[in-house]
C-alpha cells in the first residue's frame, strides 16, 4: 500500500504541475464557459415572460451554445483528456530509465500501474467536478434559477458517467504506453483509435445498415425495412464508446428524453401528442433507461484497465 500511495502522490503532483495539463484545462474551461454563457443567454431570453419550465438548470448543460452543448463537447473532447493524461505513462519511464529504478524498490509491481491509473482518474474527477461547479455557479448568477434536488442528482450521475468515460480512454492510452516503446507511436495509436471509435464506427454503422436493409427513397421504404435499418445502425453504433456515453449522458441531463432510440415512424398525430403532452421522466426512470449503457461503459473501462494490468505484470522490465 505504501508503494501505491507514493506512486499515486507523485503522479498526481506531476499531472497538476505539468504544462500539458494546464493547457488542456485552460482550453476546456474556456470552451465550457463560452458554451454555457451563450446557452445561459439564450435561456434567459427564452424564459422572459414565460412560466418557468421544469429543469431549467440542466438546460445550461444541454442547450447548444455557440456550436454545441456542454454534454456534446464532453463527449467529443473528453477522450482527449484521457489520452493526454496517459499516453506516455509507462514508456516515458522506460525511456528515461526510471521504471527499473522504481520496480527495484520494495513495492509490488502493480503499485506502479495502479498508482498511475488512480492518479489519472482523480485528476479527471477534480477537473470535471470543478468545471461543473463553476458552470453551475455561473448559471446561478446568469439565469437566476436555483437547481432542485433532482437536478443535482442528475448532475452527479452525469459526472460519474463522464469520469468513467474519460477513464476508459485513460486506460486505453496507458495500455498503448505499455505496448509501444515509442511515446509518439502510443500517442498516435490512441488518437487513431479515438477517431475510429468516435467517428468511423457511426459512419460504418450507416453503411452496414444500408447494405443489410437498403432504404428506398424513390418508392418509399416499408416500415419493416426502415425499422431493421435503424436497429442495425443503432446496434453497431453501440460499439463506439462515444455513442454509449452520448446516449447515457443526454438521457440523464435531459429528462424530456425518454429513450435512447431515435424515434422513427412518427406520424403527424404522434408528433403533436408528443409535443403537447410532454412530461419529464422521473430520475429513477431515466436511470433505468440508461442503466445498460452505464454498465457497458463501466465494464469497458474496467476491462481496458485489466488488460493493461495483465500486460504490464507479464512484461519483463530491464530499463
Amino acid at each position: 500500500m505504501q508503494g501505491l500511495y507514493a506512486v499515486f502522490r507523485k503522479e498526481l503532483a506531476d499531472h497538476f504541475s505539468s504544462y500539458r495539463f494546464v493547457i488542456l484545462f485552460a482550453l476546456i474551461a474556456m470552451v465550457s464557459f463560452i458554451t454555457s454563457y451563450v446557452a445561459g443567454l439564450h435561456l434567459k431570453e427564452g424564459l422572459e415572460g414565460v412560466a418557468k419550465p421544469k429543469f431549467v438548470f440542466l438546460m445550461l448543460f444541454n442547450t447548444p451554445g455557440a456550436l454545441f452543448s456542454m454534454v456534446q463537447f464532453g463527449a467529443f473532447f473528453g477522450p482527449l483528456i484521457g489520452i493526454v493524461l496517459g499516453f506516455d505513462a509507462i514508456n516515458k519511464e522506460r525511456a528515461q530509465g526510471t521504471l527499473i529504478k522504481i520496480t527495484s524498490q520494495p513495492i509490488y509491481r502493480d503499485a506502479v500501474i495502479n498508482g498511475k491509473f488512480l492518479a489519472g482518474v482523480v485528476t479527471i474527477s477534480i477537473m470535471l467536478l470543478s468545471i461543473v461547479l463553476v458552470i453551475s455557479g455561473f448559471g446561478l448568477t446568469l439565469v437566476g434559477v436555483v437547481p432542485g434536488v433532482e437536478e443535482i442528482w442528475r448532475l452527479f450521475i452525469y459526472l460519474i458517467i463522464s469520469i468513467f468515460y474519460i477513464s476508459f480512454w485513460l486506460g486505453l492510452s496507458i495500455l498503448f504506453s505499455i505496448l509501444f516503446k515509442s511515446i509518439a507511436t502510443s500517442a498516435l495509436a490512441s488518437v487513431a483509435l479515438w477517431i475510429f471509435l468516435s467517428f468511423f464506427v457511426t459512419l460504418g454503422a450507416t453503411v452496414v445498415a444500408n447494405a443489410v436493409a437498403p432504404l428506398n427513397a424513390k418508392e418509399g421504404t416499408s416500415p419493416e425495412i426502415l425499422l431493421k435499418n435503424t436497429t442495425v445502425k443503432e446496434r453497431i453504433s453501440l460499439f463506439s464508446p462515444m455513442v454509449l456515453y452520448t446516449d447515457a449522458s443526454t438521457i440523464i441531463i435531459n429528462p424530456m428524453r425518454k429513450t435512447t432510440q431515435s424515434l422513427i415512424l412518427m406520424g403527424p398525430m404522434e408528433r403533436i401528442s408528443a409535443s403537447r403532452f410532454e412530461n419529464p421522466l422521473s430520475f429513477a426512470q431515466s436511470l433505468i433507461v440508461v442503466y445498460p449503457h452505464v454498465t457497458a461503459l463501466i465494464a469497458i473501462t474496467l476491462i481496458c484497465f485489466a488488460i493493461s494490468y495483465l500486460v504490464f505484470m507479464l512484461q519483463e522490465i530491464r530499463t
Partner: protein, 252 residues
C-alpha cells in the same frame, strides 16, 4: 543450500533461458558480507539478467538463489528491501531536484517523512551533492547523476549494493571519486557490493574477488592471485586483471 550468516548472496545452478537462448547458464557463486565482488564480462554476457534474477524482477528458468536467507522468487518485496540496485545508465525524473528525487525513493521505501529528511541531508553530504540539493536533475552532469544514484540506493539502508556499470561514461576524476566512495562504504559500513564493470583497472583497484562471465557462464572466479595462478601458472610475475580477463575471453 546451506548458508551461514556471513553469506549475503548465494546462487546454485541459476539458469535463465529466453526461448532457445541461454542468457545465464548454471551460475553458482557466493557473495560474503563486506566484500566487493567484481562482475566482469562482455556486453550481453548475462550480468544484468543475473542481477534481475537476484532481485526477483525476473524469474529464473531453473536453479535457485538466496539473498540474506530469502528466496527472491517468493519474497521479492523483502529481497528488494535489502538490495540497493543502481542500474546501468540510471534514470532520473528531470523535473525533480535532488531532494525531491530522494524523497520519492524514500516514500517508495516507506520511510517516514521526518526520518527521510535527515537521511537525505546525510547522504547528499556523503556523496558530495550538498550544494546541488535543490538543483533540477535535468541540469546535472553525468558524475553528479551517478552520485545521486548512489545516494538513492543508500537511503533505503541496504545490506548489499548491486552496482551495474557505476563508472560508465565518467571522467577519470569523477570515476575515482566514485570508487573512493564505494571503497569507503565497504570499509566504514561493512557494505557488501556486487559490481559489474568493463573498466578492468577500476575493478582491480577495489574488488576483493572477481568473477568472469562469458556467454552466460561464469568461467572463473576468485581473487586476482588465484585467477592469475589458474591461468598463467605459478610465477613471480603478477598479472593485471586486464591480461587475465583477455586470456579468459580469447580462450573461452
Amino acid at each position: 543450500m546451506v548458508t551461514d550468516d556471513s553469506v549475503v548472496v548465494q546462487t546454485k545452478d541459476l539458469t535463465k533461458q529466453y526461448g532457445n537462448q541461454v542468457a545465464v547458464n548454471h551460475l553458482s557463486f557466493t557473495l560474503r558480507e563486506g566484500e566487493i565482488f567484481g562482475f566482469l564480462g562482455p556486453n550481453g554476457a548475462g550480468k544484468t539478467t543475473t542481477l534481475l534474477m537476484l532481485m526477483g524482477l525476473t524469474r529464473p528458468s531453473s536453479g535457485e538463489a538466496v539473498v540474506c536467507g530469502l528466496d527472491p522468487v517468493r519474497r521479492a518485496k523483502d529481497v528488494k528491501r535489502i538490495i540497493g540496485y543502481m542500474p546501468e545508465n540510471v534514470g532520473f525524473y528531470p523535473e525533480l531536484d535532488a531532494v525531491q528525487s530522494l524523497e520519492y525513493i524514500a516514500a517508495l521505501n516507506g520511510i517516514p517523512e521526518s526520518e527521510a529528511r535527515n537521511k537525505i541531508d546525510e547522504f547528499l553530504e556523503l556523496v558530495g551533492l550538498k550544494d546541488e540539493a535543490y538543483k533540477k536533475v535535468a541540469n546535472f552532469s553525468r558524475g553528479m547523476k551517478q552520485r545521486l544514484g548512489i545516494a538513492e540506493v543508500l537511503i533505503k539502508d541496504p545490506k548489499v549494493l548491486f552496482l551495474d556499470e557505476p563508472t560508465l561514461g565518467l571522467d577519470p576524476e569523477a570515476a575515482l571519486n566514485l570508487i573512493d566512495l564505494i571503497v569507503r562504504l565497504k570499509e566504514e559500513h561493512n557494505m557488501t557490493v556486487l559490481l559489474s564493470s568493463h573498466h578492468l583497472h577500476q575493478v582491480q583497484r577495489m574488488s576483493d574477488r572477481v568473477g568472469i562471465m562469458i556467454n552466460g557462464t561464469m568461467v572463473a572466479q576468485g581473487t586476482l592471485d588465484q585467477l592469475s595462478k589458474e591461468k598463467f601458472g605459478l610465477g613471480d610475475k603478477t598479472y593485471s586483471l586486464e591480461e587475465i580477463y583477455l586470456k579468459y575471453f580469447r580462450e573461452g
